[in-house]
């Protein structure tokens, strides 16, 4: 499969179809896998594809440093393809400007599969220009994709609050979660806005609650559960729980799942007069 | 075989036991199991709500609690007075958690108001009119009925939420399935004076006379009812009506279940039709003609 990936990328670069391929690479054979930007056909040999290819590369599609390289091809797993759908829906990416190479994926993470991969429904990416490889892997039958949240919600509200206090206590506000998220593409983040200060920048509990609530809610109905925020958090904060909770809410109330269908209008910014409202007096 | 809870109420175990016989026979033939509520009590009709509001909810509440306990999702109460009281309570319980708690405490049985309460017509609808139609052995071709709903089957309309309170058609539809005709007439939802049978008999005789007269005038050869009290006034009291008004009516009065049963091939005896005061033989008219 790797040879096919490299060949596809080489052809694209040689033909001038694209100027850069956003891919996975490794600086040394036992070092970590990280994103690379291949601009020369010969450098396609640097591309790797293995169980360490966690990164959701679509996050680079909105970065000015990467955009300045010219037309891009990008490697996406099924999960990453969903964030691409959202980026297109939100006018951040012109779909025709990107050559999307889908990778058949049986999950990342070794020796243990990443949590998201265990409930994955998109082993074969959709909406891509070309798919490399194939897999029979399918969504596990009857799997509850919100099991994590459901389990967590068994705790009392006080226990939940205590949990989050413990988690957010560690947040240093490095914004790695924001940096890695493909859908955090604002030119200026609301947390950096200081007239007025909407969210305290201090890494106190107060500021950290406001920040993390905001980060989560800004992804409401948008997050595609790629899990990158949680993976990169140096403080090990379980951010995916908040994202999953909102994804569950969007599905439960509005039958909406982000990034599944470019034609379905996003859940925020649209409405149905019949939306239920049992909590409003 | 479908299974319904069954709340007979005092009437069907007393003066109107002919009604119970008719209902039971009919249901048996239709393979409907009626599970009589174990240890049911009075529905509190007529008296309770004028004395004590909580009592008027607790009495039916207990019956609903029994139905829930015994796992009945639908409860047949053939007497419209009973079904109205039960529905009223059910509605009140559904709306208020506080009331559910209060009544559950009083009757010492958890009661939520989840049980659906249905009247005699509804049970036929549940069974399915096409099913009944298919099971008809003796189409009631000779019947031209005036369907008499009386006051409580469709009222209070927002409580019982059954059929159109002023122009009901549900009994007519059942009759159509039996091959019987029904007439257009004017007194289908008028009161028969049931509550005043003993206190102001004159009023009752006056009202019932109007009902029977109008039915006749519109070409009916019998009356069909789904209420034990209506039956008492129209059937048992028909003689008194004739005497008081100097007329001769001789108007048979059937329970709806009687006609269903007869069409299904049951005998007058099985349905206790032979125990009516006015000889109810219209259904067999063609035979006599022949």
């Amino acid at each position: 499969m790797i040879e096919e990936i490299r060949q596809t990328c080489r052809t694209l670069l040689e033909a001038g179809t694209v100027n850069v391929v956003i891919a996975y690479g490794q600086s040394n054979p036992d070092g970590p896998v990280h994103p690379i930007f291949v601009t020369k056909p010969d450098d396609v040999e640097k591309i790797v594809w293995n169980k360490q290819c966690f990164a959701n590369l679509t996050t680079y599609l909105t970065r000015k440093e990467v955009k300045s390289l010219g037309k891009a091809a990008i490697l996406v797993k099924g999960c990453d393809a969903r964030s691409l759908v959202v980026l297109v829906q939100e006018s951040q990416v012109e779909r025709s400007d990107v050559h999307v190479i889908g990778l058949a994926c049986e999950g990342v993470g070794e020796p243990e599969l990443a949590g998201k991969c265990r409930v994955c429904e998109v082993h074969m990416p959709v909406g891509v220009d070309v798919t490399i490889g194939s897999t029979e892997a399918a969504a596990p039958e009857g799997q509850n994709r919100y099991a994590l949240v459901d389990e967590f919600m068994k705790k009392s509200p006080e226990e939940r609050m205590a949990f989050w206090k413990q988690e957010f206590e560690r947040c240093v506000r490095c914004y790695a979660c924001r940096g890695v998220c493909p859908l955090c593409y604002c030119n200026q983040c609301i947390v950096d806005k200081n007239r007025p200060v909407v969210i305290d920048t201090s890494a106190t509990l107060k500021g950290n609650f406001a920040w993390n609530i905001t980060r989560a809610f800004h992804l409401a109905g948008r997050c595609v559960s790629c899990g990158e925020c949680t993976r990169v958090c140096p403080a090990g904060i379980d951010l995916r729980m908040l994202n999953a909770s909102l994804a569950q809410s969007a599905e439960k109330h509005f039958n909406y799942r982000a990034g599944m269908d470019p034609e379905t209008p996003p859940v925020i910014g649209t409405y149905n007069a019949e939306d239920k409202e049992n909590f409003i007096r | 075989m479908s299974r319904f809870g069954y709340y007979p109420g005092c009437a069907l175990h007393g003066s109107s036991n002919d009604f119970e016989a008719s209902v039971r026979a009919c249901m048996k033939t239709l393979e409907v199991e009626l599970g009589e509520l174990n240890d049911w009590i009075c529905c509190g009709a007529t008296a309770a709500h004028s004395i004590n509001h909580t009592l008027s909810l607790a009495l039916p509440g207990r019956n609903l609690g029994i139905a829930e306990r015994d796992g009945f999702t639908d409860l047949l109460a053939p007497c419209p007075m009973c079904s109205m009281e039960l529905i009223k309570t059910k509605n009140a319980l559904t709306e208020s958690a506080a009331l559910r708690k209060e009544i559950s405490d009083i009757v010492e049985t958890p009661v939520t108001g989840a049980t659906e309460v249905i009247n005699l017509i509804q049970i036929f609808q549940r069974v399915g009119l096409d099913r009944i139609q298919a099971a008809v052995k003796k189409p009631l071709e000779s019947i031209s009925a005036a369907c008499y709903y009386g006051c409580l089957l469709t009222r209070p309309p927002r409580t019982v939420a059954f059929d159109d309170p002023d122009q009901p058609r549900s009994m007519e539809t059942v009759l159509a399935a039996l091959g019987a005709k029904s007439v257009e007439w004017n007194y289908a939802t008028e009161c028969c004076g049931a509550g005043m049978t003993l206190s102001r008999e004159e009023t009752v005789l006056n009202l019932t006379n109007k009902i029977i007269t109008n039915a006749k005038a519109h070409g009916a050869n019998c009356l069909v009812v789904a209420c034990p009290m209506c039956h008492v006034n129209l059937d048992m009291k028909q003689g008194a009506v004739e005497q008081a008004h100097g007329v001769k009516h001789d108007m048979p009065v059937y329970y709806l279940s009687d006609l269903v049963g007869l069409a299904l091939g049951l005998s007058e005896r099985e349905l206790a039709v032979n125990r009516h005061f006015v000889r109810a033989g219209v259904h067999a008219a063609p035979k006599t003609v022949a």
Partner: protein, 145 residues
């Protein structure tokens, strides 16, 4: 907290209301002299559509014990659809808060029209009583220490 302290406690309540329905509903409560507790501070906004979740968080940060969000009934929005948009956001936001263990008894949503002065007064009375019973929103105050 002892019982006496609890009864002496007067909650801080912030009400974010729309200009065209609930604000006028509150005006009507005034015109009709319908008395209610004085704890509520009304913040007038053009429409419930304008009411952002950050405002709710900020109110708690500033020591509010309860937050009220209220606007026009569905179909009655002065701007035709602001309240529908708001309703969607609140639906999701409440679920997020619930996951975080934030007490949903501290946030109340209502549709109160310009004609519902009585509803406004009753609603404020009711939630003020509730806020008094709940006591200070200690959990969020601790976060903000």
């Amino acid at each position: 907290m002892s019982e006496t302290e609890k009864t002496a406690f007067e909650p801080k309540i912030v009400a974010y209301v729309c200009n065209w329905c609930t604000y006028l509903g509150a005006d009507l409560a005034g015109t009709n002299r319908l008395e209610y507790p004085s704890n509520v501070r009304i913040v007038r906004l053009p429409c419930t559509g304008r009411i952002d979740f950050n405002l709710i968080i900020k109110a708690f940060e500033m020591g509010a014990d309860m937050v009220v969000v209220s606007g026009c009934h569905p179909g009655d929005c002065h701007y035709t659809a602001g309240n529908y948009h708001a309703r969607r956001r609140w639906t999701l936001f409440r679920d997020l808060l619930e996951t975080m263990g934030i007490d949903l008894n501290r946030i109340h949503f209502a549709w109160i029209s310009a004609a519902e002065g009585k509803k406004f007064a009753e609603f404020i009375t009711e939630i003020t009583d509730k806020a008094r019973q709940l006591g200070p929103y200690q959990a969020y105050r601790e976060i903000c220490e």
